[in-house]
């Protein structure tokens, strides 16, 4: 019998902003502990929120072995690794004061807009340890701050948003970013008169990658119910297109190990390499079931069985800036595109509620509401221009994903 603990702790300070003023502050510190017991090829588990009695937790986990949940895979062992990405981004005692300063500046510099939503300062710890000598620990601390903006004269619920997410904060840089977006928003511009245009997404926007989340799911892929099932080891995308499943905390806010303790080289696994499909994303069960590579994509609730989760995806950057990728053309930067989707055969269409004309370095102005469309094999095939080497702004880790698509006014 082997015991394994999976511990998640989230400390969060949330400050709610309504119409550019603070109206509430919330504190949360919640630890969730899962206890897994592996015995005779089965797994039992139990969980607790907050304080718990060790014996009672273990008894419940042992009792759940009666459910006969098979788990016959190798467990992580003899590895101790600790990665701590946390740092003091803002002194917690100064948080309200700092946000008040930022909001005060916004009220002064952007008097035509209201700003709302939440400022979250989050400290996250994840630990996985077992009787086999596995002890993995990840700690991070980051800001999750999406400010929704709307013009005071606008009849809409929201007109757009500005995201400030990551491990860095600077009031000056945050204001510069917000001011640039608000200035572009105020400047209405025409859509260039071309049917096909370079469309630009932030790399944290999962909309253009949703087909991969769906069809590179190992269970779908292995059961031949994915559009990509029969295309493994075939080159079907652009040779400059490499897609990683990433558990690399340098790419995004993510633990370097999955819920089964799998760690990849450089914390990344290539699912598509230079246009060739290498593997769908898998956990131990799916990898074993379909004889696919193990990519380390297990997720688990604190009191649940590790199962295939959703990966964080990263496209390999090019050696070019966004301006170079655009090659002198104006791009259509997608800030708000809600409601679009792919069809089973890979066709894609979405309305775009807010887009900016983008010269590769700055947002020029606000475009009318648009519709964009393409197909997954075009988007990441002939139409794929690349991911920029430059980030969207100094506070962000996000880059520009650029591809040609059909663009029209709604």
């Amino acid at each position: 019998m082997i015991k394994e603990k999976y511990i998640n702790r989230v400390k969060k300070i949330s400050i709610n902003v309504t119409q550019t003023k603070i109206d509430s502050i919330s504190h949360k510190d919640i630890e969730k502990t899962g206890l897994r017991i592996y015995k005779n090829g089965y797994i039992g588990y139990s969980g607790a929120i907050g304080r718990y009695e060790e014996e009672e937790l273990e008894k419940r986990a042992k009792d759940s072995l009666n459910n006969k949940m098979p788990y016959q895979y190798n467990l992580g062992k003899n590895l101790r690794k600790k990665e701590d990405f946390s740092s003091e981004i803002i002194k917690e005692d100064n948080l309200v004061e700092e946000l008040n300063e930022l909001l005060g500046a916004l009220r002064k510099e952007q008097p035509e807009f209201y700003f709302s939503n939440k400022f979250n300062l989050i400290e996250h710890e994840v630990r996985l340890l077992n009787d086999n000598g596995l002890d993995l620990y990840y700690k991070d601390k980051y800001i999750d701050f999406i400010l929704i903006f709307k013009e005071k004269t606008s009849p809409n619920i929201m007109d757009g948003f500005v995201g400030l997410n990551g491990r860095k904060y600077s009031r000056k840089l945050a204001l510069e970013n917000i001011n640039q977006i608000c200035s572009a928003y105020r400047n209405k511009v025409m859509l260039p008169n071309k049917k096909v245009l370079p469309v630009v997404f932030s790399t944290d926007d999962m909309l253009p990658l949703e087909k991969f989340l769906e069809d590179l799911n190992g269970d779908r892929f292995g059961s031949k119910s994915s559009l990509l099932s029969n295309k493994r080891n075939k080159k079907i995308f652009n040779e400059n297109f490499t897609l990683y499943q990433t558990n690399n905390p340098n790419d995004c806010i993510v633990p370097f190990f999955d819920a089964e303790g799998v760690i990849n080289d450089n914390h990344r696994y290539p699912l598509i390499k230079e246009g060739i499909i290498v593997s769908p994303y898998t956990d131990k069960r799916i990898s074993n079931k379909y004889n696919l590579p193990l990519t380390g994509c297990a997720a688990a609730e604190y009191d649940g069985m590790p199962n295939l989760g959703f990966p964080k995806l990263k496209i390999k950057e090019s050696e070019k800036t966004a301006k170079e990728l655009l090659g002198g053309e104006m791009g259509i930067f997608i800030l708000v595109a809600s409601g679009g989707d792919f069809t089973p055969e890979g066709n894609f269409a979405t309305p775009v509620q807010l887009a900016f004309l983008f010269d590769g370095e700055k947002f020029i102005g606000r475009l009318p509401e648009l519709s964009i469309s393409s197909n997954v094999f075009h988007m990441f095939g002939d139409s794929f221009l690349g991911v920029s080497k430059d980030t969207m702004n100094p506070l962000s880790n996000n880059k520009f994903l650029i591809m040609n698509m059909e663009v029209s006014k709604i």
């Binding site: 588990y45 619920i157 059961s223 199962n307 809600s338 409601g339 792919f342």
Partner: protein
């Protein structure tokens, strides 16, 4: 029960949650668990700021009240503050599920019920992959406030969710089947419906063709109409978007004509199902609220703060997704009221159009979207060929005026998986529905 600090408003919400989750993937067990926990959310208000805390140790509630109150500034006029003044004092116990609570049903029965569906899934040559889940959730809530509210009530849902991936040669298609009720016995005897649904999906897989993009008259099924009502208009009726915003108040003035004369949209927390919320998370009793009545903007959804700010009545719509979050304005069960045509009449009047039976998701800003799953052409008043559609879009305010027909029966849908998302709080259980709804001039891609 608690010692509430003087000169501050304080409330405490305690949640006692029982949940079961069972999942099988192509016949193999993937999850089987019972989760049971108690936790609390505490709010303190001094007239200027709210101070919140969520805790998992109920013994610490008093300590947490005292801690939060130390951040706040005592306010001798707190009882006269418009928000505090607005909040009801309610003393009521409404336990609807004491006798048939999910915790009383042994887990084996839940497994067995789910397994009854497996032969149908395994019998299909076109289903390449499937996942079947049984989920139930019972929540006992207690709410106590410094104004004297003491509310105890329960909610419950149980259901089955099955996701299926169909495939034939190069054609692929995914669809979900879901049933949900507030009692276990109602889940029995639904296998024939499931069998028919699988057959419909298989036919769709084999026959569907890409749509010819264009503008069409679209008939929405009750579930699609419910999503449309929720996304296109329901969210705009949540009054927290309006506080202190003169442009919004003007744009969304009660009495304004916003839809066709036959259109009425309602939100009510009193309807059984996944949106059942007899009291909200401020201890306010649920009301039936007309958002639109006969095409006229008639009401909106409120928390105490928004009702006080807009000087309107409380509606019981301050809801939190769980103990980790504060209540914000949310929908409960939102639906379009039925009209006076039979379903057949509604279809017979369409020469060429689209019928949307199920959807994958929807959204609603100034432009709304629906991503159909099972959809069909309508030809000469009859449902015809199956069609693949990426997205249906339209301008919300124009589209509400393009509704020109409603069937005469209301269907309310309940859900055990998924729900509504707003800001960081998701998924919140909601219900929705309507009759069959006919809308002209929608963009179909």
């Amino acid at each position: 029960m608690f010692k509430f600090p003087d000169h501050l408003y304080t409330d405490v919400r305690i949640e006692d949650v029982y949940e079961t989750e069972i999942v099988y993937s192509t016949g193999e067990i993937e999850e089987s668990k019972i989760r049971n926990y108690k936790a609390a959310f505490i709010r303190v208000f001094d007239g200027e700021m709210w101070y919140y805390s969520s805790i998992s140790n109920l013994e610490s509630i008093q300590k947490e009240i005292d801690s939060l109150s130390s951040y706040a500034s005592p306010n001798r006029e707190i009882d006269n503050h418009p928000i505090v003044n607005k909040l009801q004092v309610t003393k009521e116990k409404l336990l609807k599920f004491e006798d048939n609570g999910m915790e009383k049903i042994e887990i084996k029965r839940k497994h067995d019920l789910l397994k009854e569906h497996f032969p149908l899934l395994e019998g299909s040559t076109f289903i390449k992959n499937w996942k079947a889940a049984y989920v139930d959730r019972k929540v006992n809530k207690e709410f106590y406030s410094s104004k004297g509210s003491e509310v105890i009530f329960d909610t419950q849902s149980t259901g089955i969710f099955i996701s299926m991936q169909f495939g034939y040669e190069e054609k692929m298609f995914s669809e979900n089947y879901q049933i949900s009720y507030d009692n276990f016995d109602s889940l029995d005897g639904k296998l024939e419906n499931f069998k028919s649904f699988i057959k419909q999906c298989e036919d769709f897989l084999l026959e569907s063709q890409p749509v010819k993009p264009g503008k069409y008259t679209v008939i929405l099924s009750p579930s699609s109409a419910g999503v449309f009502a929720h996304e296109s208009f329901g969210h705009k009726s949540e009054a927290d978007f309006m506080i202190g915003d003169e442009a919004m108040k003007k744009e969304w003035a009660i009495g304004k004509k916003v839809g066709s004369d036959i259109l009425s949209i309602v939100d009510s927390g009193n309807i059984s199902g996944s949106g059942y919320t007899p009291f909200d998370d401020e201890g306010i009793r649920a009301e039936k609220t007309y958002l639109i009545k006969n095409g006229i903007l008639s009401g909106r959804l409120h928390s105490g703060a928004t009702a006080a700010s807009l000087e309107e009545n409380l509606t019981g719509n301050a809801r939190a997704v769980d103990f980790e979050f504060e209540p914000i304005v949310r929908m409960t069960t939102t639906y379009i009221e039925p009209g006076n045509k039979t379903k057949d009449e509604l279809f017979s009047e369409v020469k060429e159009g689209i019928y949307v039976e199920t959807i994958k998701h929807g959204s609603g800003m100034s432009t709304f979207t629906l991503a159909p799953s099972l959809a069909y052409y309508i030809k000469d008043g009859k449902i015809a060929n199956a069609v693949n559609i990426s997205v249906i879009t339209g301008n919300v305010m124009e589209t509400l005026k393009e509704i020109d027909g409603l069937s005469d029966k209301l269907e309310i849908l309940s859900f055990v998986i998924g729900g509504c998302g707003k800001m960081e709080q998701a998924p919140l259980p909601v219900g929705f529905g309507g009759p069959y709804v006919r809308v002209n001039n929608l963009n179909v891609q």
